[in-house]
């Protein structure tokens, strides 16, 4: 309540903070996947995505040079070298597997009698002794290193070319566009008839449509698959378009009818008086006026078809050529459950289109939700 009497500023703060926490909680899961999809394979495996901006810590060991590598310097025998590779930074080091991070960079330690080992922050080490070295294998130096954050688009390149996701993207498009457009057209005519035409049984039909809103999809699978096989459609695009059209219609008719009923009666009546046919009224008056409702259902249907897994699995078949993106994603979860760079990237590609549609058309989506659900509220 804006300007609510007696509202304290501490309360405003509390509201802001709790809202922020809630939003954070709801955003973090997606954010995690998004960040991971740009991370290097090894980095994903070695640290959480939330640590990816501060770099990832790794432990390992390197061996120093052997006695052959020693040089004489100021009366000492010295072996020198570097423990770091690439752009790593040294965090800590040690000489035993038990305490791999015992010493700080720059420390000098006596590892055996008379052997002085120094490892500096830049990774260079110096092993010095008064006696000549005789060991065959180098001494182990354990390191804890920090690799700088590394982000790459390589995952996307790999997934789009190699994992069949490009193909699946096209398949999904082919399924989605007709399965969005056809039900809108059919529903618009039906909704107009239910809203503005006088005929017996109108109330009954409207109620029936509302009733059909809740029929579980699962009930329809087997009978329809059988039906499609019997009439020769089989598993294919035509079948899945028809199925999505059928399943989407109740909501479409319901939303559009609710909207059309609210259009001003005078406009339609005066058009009738002027001798316009119903078809003309529908085309010239109702359709343009109903644009917001048509748009909101279009978004619903688009999201629903794009995100669907069940209908596609049943009506489209599961060969590589026919899989939609959700299907590919499911397969990857089964076969590449541990390869998060592949999984995260694929998932992000598959949800990117709905997310774009969502953020671009949110206004209409909300409008549709409100028209459809806040009834008797």
């Amino acid at each position: 309540m804006e300007g609510m009497a007696g509202q304290k500023s501490s309360l405003v703060w509390a509201v802001n903070i709790s809202a922020f926490l809630l939003v954070l909680l709801w955003t973090i899961p997606t954010l995690g996947l998004f960040v991971s999809s740009f991370r290097d394979r090894d980095q994903i495996a070695s640290s959480g995505w939330w640590q990816s901006f501060s770099g990832s810590e790794q432990t390992g060991f390197v061996r120093t040079g052997t006695g052959d590598d020693a040089i004489q310097m100021d009366g000492l025998h010295v072996i020198e070298g570097n423990v770091l590779k690439g752009e790593q930074k040294l965090v800590a080091w040690g000489t035993g597997a038990r305490e791999p991070a015992r010493y700080q960079p720059g420390d000098t330690v006596e590892i055996e009698e008379g052997w002085q080992l120094t490892v500096r922050a830049d990774g260079s080490y110096r092993l010095a002794s008064r006696q000549p070295f005789e060991m065959r294998r180098g001494e182990r130096i354990f390191t804890t290193t920090m690799a700088p954050p590394k982000f790459t688009t390589g995952n996307y390149e790999r997934v789009l070319t190699a994992e069949g996701l490009g193909r699946a993207f096209m398949n999904t498009m082919t399924v989605t566009v007709p399965a969005t457009v056809i039900p809108i057209l059919i529903a618009a005519f039906a909704a107009y008839a239910l809203a503005w035409m006088e005929f017996p049984g109108r109330a009954l039909l409207t109620a029936a449509v509302v009733g059909l809103l809740v029929v579980p999809l699962q009930v329809a699978l087997i009978p329809l698959l059988r039906l499609h096989n019997d009439i020769g459609i089989g598993k294919g695009y035509l079948g899945i378009w028809l199925a999505h059209t059928g399943f989407g219609l109740p909501l479409a008719i319901y939303l559009l009818r609710n909207y059309m009923v609210g259009l001003p009666r005078e406009v339609i009546e005066s058009a009738r008086v002027d001798g316009a046919t119903e078809f003309q009224i529908f085309r010239r008056i109702i359709l343009p006026l109903s644009f917001p409702a048509l748009a909101s259902f279009a978004i619903f249907q688009f999201l629903w078809v794009w995100n669907d897994l069940l209908v596609a699995t049943v009506f489209l078949g599961n060969t590589r050529e026919q899989l939609v993106m959700t299907g590919v994603l499911r397969e990857l979860m089964g076969s590449k459950g541990g390869e998060w760079e592949i999984l995260a990237t694929s998932a992000f590609i598959s949800i990117s289109v709905p997310l774009i549609v969502f953020f671009a058309m949110q206004k209409y989506l909300v409008r549709g939700l409100l028209a459809g659900s806040v009834k008797g509220g």
């Binding site: 809202a19 809630l22 939003v23 699962q218 087997i222 069940l310 994603l329």
Partner: protein, 331 residues
Amino acid sequence: MELMWLAISTIAIGLFGCVAWFWGSNMVLDAIYPPRGENAGDNIRRANQIRPWLFLGPALLFLGLYLVYPVIDSFWRSLHSSDGSRFVGGANYVWLLGDDKFRESMLNNMLWLLVVPALSTLFGLIAAQLTDRIRWGNIGKSLIFMPMAISFVGAGVIWKFIYEYRAADQAQIGLLNWIVTRFGGEPQIWLTLMPWNNFFLMIVLVWIQTGFAMVILSAALRGIPEETIEAAILDGASPWQVFFRIKVPQIMGTIAVVWTTITIVVLKVFDIVFVMTNGQWGTQVLANLMYDWMFRGTPDYGRGSAIAMVLMVLVTPIMIWNIRNTRREMR
């Protein structure tokens, strides 16, 4: 490329077919009963009796074929043996009652029905109330609403990453286990942790549905007349009292609608369980169980259909409630 042309041409054909039906049939009707000439009045009356059915025809055909017929056919199939050849009466339903997996699914479905709509509505209400009162509320709303656009499969991947498990001596890359180990706990394989894994799956759906509840409840909260709230504040009600005693009771109707809508989603929930655990470790639900019987191994259409009918029976009360509401409004 070829695929794209196929898609484009089929869209064109489909659209053209649709338009041609509506346009053509209306032309024919006008030709048979022209709305002018000596019989104009009679003709218009007759045409007006037929025209609604031209408009409704395709929709009724689709609704009948894709929603009504399957219910009847499923019922019929549920009375038959696995391949539909033999009439077995109620045997499939008797089998259901004795099946362990079915009982587990029923129990889990009940749990889902209790938890998910309740939590989604609660979080939605909190989110609506919080975001309505702050300046950046619309951005916050968008972000909470965003999971609605994500597929259940995508959400499955997202949350599987959060539940990811690594052995205790390794760096945890799953957020949940990282938090747990930070506080000195043992990392857990969350998705196999019975019976809690059910709740970890439910959280995914709550995460998705909260945005929906928030949007609708927020609209309802804004629709509350100012006077009642002002009166309550003048009477010295605290913000909590205003919210729970004044606001919530006034939007009870909307809360019921949100609750029911989410209940329907829950009953049909399939994808989340399918991709995250596939019903193992005691997480089976009806929709996934049905899928198993119908499409895995040797299909048993009788048993599968019987499970589908159980789902149908579960949504029937909501269906009746919906129809009643609509009829009341139309009067």
